[in-house]
């Protein structure tokens, strides 16, 4: 038996860290834990941010005013992921979409399900599907995914920011 020469090996390491959500995200997540999506509004340009980060990058000012948004919105754009992503438990193919909640001026990524993949399109109206209330925590995972509402599509021009 000959010994195989090895000049390369895989060594697994782990790194644990403590994540501090910060004021704006903490306020947002505490509301998400109650099933509410609470945005923050820029006092200068009135842009509505969800999830909020506590400031408006356009104006460089803090966002304090809060407003609750509905859990409905539209698909600003999307991709269908066909390959397994290392470390990600979601089984492909799945839809990763930029969801623009009604009344918001930025989108966030979430899943779309309960639809034939071929039917997904930009401008499609969607609504959040929440987990059972007993499973809620301070996480956007309280929303399992978004599903189509069946309403008429919106024109993509609505995604343009109007000050």
């Amino acid at each position: 038996m000959t010994e195989e020469k090895k000049d390369f090996f895989v060594s697994n390491i782990s790194l644990s860290y403590q994540y501090t959500a910060g004021n704006a995200t903490t306020r947002f997540l505490n509301k998400v834990a109650e099933g509410k999506l609470v945005a923050q509004k820029c006092p200068k340009c009135s842009a509505v941010y969800v999830p909020p980060r506590g400031s408006c990058p356009r104006c460089g000012v803090a966002t304090e005013e809060e407003l609750e948004l509905p859990d409905t919105g539209a698909v600003e754009s999307f991709t269908i992921v066909h390959i397994p992503i290392p470390g990600n438990p979601i089984v492909p193919p799945y839809v990763s979409a930029m969801i623009r909640l009604d009344g918001a001026d930025i989108s966030f990524l979430h899943l779309i399900q309960e639809i034939d993949l071929a039917d997904i399109r930009i401008g499609m109206r969607v609504q959040a599907v929440w987990k059972d209330r007993s499973e809620w925590g301070t996480t956007l995972e309280n929303i399992k995914w978004f599903k189509p509402t069946g309403e008429a599509d919106v024109d993509p021009s609505v995604f343009k920011f109007k000050e």
């Binding site: 000049d7 997540l29 754009s77 990600n88 930025i106 343009k160 920011f161």
Partner: protein, 381 residues
């Protein structure tokens, strides 16, 4: 006025797995070639500027410290640059700025990635705290913007295939390029698996190991060498989570391009720039950046690609070296664009040389398409 020129460019062979060298060996190979091309010795190097994509890619934190001997920085000023995928470009601009400062005559700048010792898609797809696990690599992030470009301007789907073919045909003329795919055509691209709809396998960049180095100097050395003079250079960034941000045509990219054209006295980039190395990691970014960088009006980019304007013998050749679509050592990918622009204007690009190239552009973008770095080089002082 910028008083700095690139007097030497060194690149390694780009491959999926450079198991013949360590990280130190990899960067040193590029440095040795750059110093040979520049005809300088270590005594001439006044400072070293190193760039690399996020440390999480290889899991080696602050590699500029462990690499200090390999990059010849012992006892010399050393700076590390971080701007995600655009880092190779930003590093070049920062290195040139050091020469322009007047405090350094000659600077060595080096960028690299050893993707075989990492998994960039894993590193780019973490589960963020308190969020669903949606991140799906760089392609997953950029695909929705490409889809929106296609929708906005009603672009035919074979434009992406055309870019994928064009850059790989160019790579066949560049012996350093990672992907060498003889006989590639649009059908071959169209038959490869869909990764991130609308993006297919051959419309995406590979994972590469490699390094790129440059020697940047002032006129004392550059006058006696075949130098690429920097005529304009700039970096820009923009807020990713900003209301009104247009990810298809980012303001940061528009402003950065305008800035370097103004510095270089360019009023019509399409006519006045002879060729360009532009950061196109996914096929659709060629038409998107044609528009963003003011080579044409909005909605016209895909038509330029369609009519062959960006081919090596076209009106505005893009990515003669094969581009990021053919070689992608992420940290170095931006600097390769900047260095290849220099090789073109100094007539050193070999089989992928554009005849009579006097003015060339290098470009890089990174992060969530919020970091931009660009320069214009010319063979005339």
């Amino acid at each position: 006025m910028i008083e700095a020129a690139v007097i030497g460019v060194g690149q390694t062979k780009y491959e999926a797995k450079r198991r013949d060298v360590s990280m130190g060996g990899l960067v040193r190979k590029a440095i040795d070639k750059a110093m040979l091309a520049a005809d300088v010795d270590w005594d001439a190097i006044d400072a070293v500027i190193l760039g690399k994509a996020p440390d999480m890619f290889e899991g080696v934190m602050m590699p500029e410290l462990s690499l200090v001997d390999a990059i010849g920085a012992n006892g010399k000023p050393l700076l590390r640059v971080h701007t995600a995928g655009s880092v190779g470009g930003s590093t070049a601009v920062i290195a040139a700025s050091h020469v322009c400062s007047g405090n350094f005559d000659t600077v060595l700048t080096i960028t690299y990635e050893k993707q075989s010792e990492s998994n960039a898609t894993w590193a780019l797809s973490p589960k963020y705290p308190y969020s669903p696990h949606i991140n799906a690599g760089a392609g997953g992030y950029f695909a929705p913007y490409m889809r929106e470009y296609i929708r906005r301007y009603d672009a035919p789907e074979n434009i992406g295939w055309k870019v994928a073919v064009k850059d790989r045909l160019n790579a066949l003329k560049n012996p350093l390029a990672h992907l060498q795919i003889p006989g590639i055509d649009e059908n071959m691209v169209a038959e490869t698996p869909m990764l991130w709809d609308p993006l297919r396998y051959l419309e995406s960049c590979p994972s590469s190991d490699g390094a790129c180095a440059m020697i940047i100097s002032n006129k004392k050395l550059a006058y006696s060498r075949n130098a690429a003079w920097i005529k304009g250079m700039a970096v820009r960034s923009e807020g990713t989570l900003s209301a009104g941000r247009d990810e298809v045509n980012p303001q940061g990219g528009q402003d950065c391009a305008k800035d370097i054209y103004d510095q270089a006295g360019i009023t019509n980039p399409f006519k006045e720039i002879d060729c360009a190395e532009i950061y196109v990691p996914f096929s659709w970014y060629e038409p998107m950046w044609l528009e963003n960088l003011h080579f044409c009006d909005l909605g016209e980019g895909w038509k330029l690609t369609e009519r062959g304007a960006t081919e090596i013998e076209g009106e505005i050749p893009f990515n003669m070296s094969g581009g990021v679509l053919s070689s992608n050592p992420i940290g170095a990918s931006g600097m390769i664009r900047f260095g290849e622009a220099c090789l073109q204007v100094t007539n050193q690009a070999g089989d992928h040389q554009v005849d009579g190239a006097n003015v060339a552009m290098g470009h890089a973008y990174g992060g969530a398409a919020q970091f931009f770095a660009m320069w214009i080089v010319s063979n005339k002082k």
